[in-house]
Symmetry: C2
Subunit: 129 residues, 2 copies
DNA sequence: GGTTGACTTGGAGTTAACTCCAAGAGGTAC
DNA sequence: GTACCTCTTGGAGTTAACTCCAAGTCAACC
């Protein structure tokens, strides 16, 4: 289907990162052609996309390795996978809430800076006051 | 005002982390008493709280060092500080959006797992079907 | 048939952000 | 006055997550 160079371009992950992900088990092993070169299938690409997304949302590599490993063990692990996702979803939720609080705080600070700057400008315009 | 042990307990940051933050300039230098021991003022504590919050929202240490350094240079840097905050606020916003998308995706996945599990249970209950 | 370029591997190196350690000093408790 | 505890410093070590490197293979073009 496609080479590491193509997958790398498509998902904006370095070839090294892709090889690393495969090495540590973050994505299932990719098949090689007769001369030993990686040949990513559609499914491989879906994994790459999924993992990239999960990683950029901040899920630890270790947890994702666990997820992939469960996945490869088949249907018996459906419950465990669901629980893992729920746990991570909850943590994600907490982090989002924390970040939103921080956003508000930064917005307040920015507003206050804005007013300080405005006040300073006025003083400049009407120095007699 | 208070010792490193107290600040450490209050903000749940290790003493090592507090010393590290001070060492690299993440918080302004804390005064020492006559025997060389850190004596955190109220303002020091506010800095610690602020930095802890910023860090847990994911702002890089490097950026925060820059902010503290600007702060210490006085009023002339108000504009630069505001710009720095705006830039970081925007990045934070992007990260939050990305994480929210990921949350939805995880919720979908969890729902699908739930249905799989439900279906499996039904099959168990009525094996004749 | 030799050179080029993209790929392979295992392993070493890097970066950010802590975290730990050794050696030593000050204050208090017996 | 000595044992103990908490603190100090500078510097080394750790962890996660890549990122880079050297040595080698293979197909393709000239």
């Amino acid at each position: 289907m496609c080479t590491i160079a193509e997958v790398s371009r498509k998902f904006e992950l370095s070839q090294d990162t892709l090889r690393y992900y495969e090495r540590v088990g973050l994505i299932p092993r990719v098949n090689r052609n007769k001369s030993g070169i990686r040949d990513y299938t559609e499914e491989d690409c879906r994994w790459v996309e999924f993992i990239k997304c999960m990683r950029s949302a901040g899920l630890p590599v270790e947890v994702l390795i666990e997820y992939v490993s469960l996945f490869q063990q088949g249907d018996a692990t459906v419950l465990a996978r669901k629980d893992l996702l729920i746990e991570q979803r909850n943590q994600l939720m907490l982090r989002i809430e924390e970040m939103q609080k921080m956003m508000e705080r930064m917005n307040d600070k920015i507003d206050r800076y804005e007013q300080t700057i405005l006040a300073a400008k006025k003083t400049l315009q009407k120095p007699e006051e």
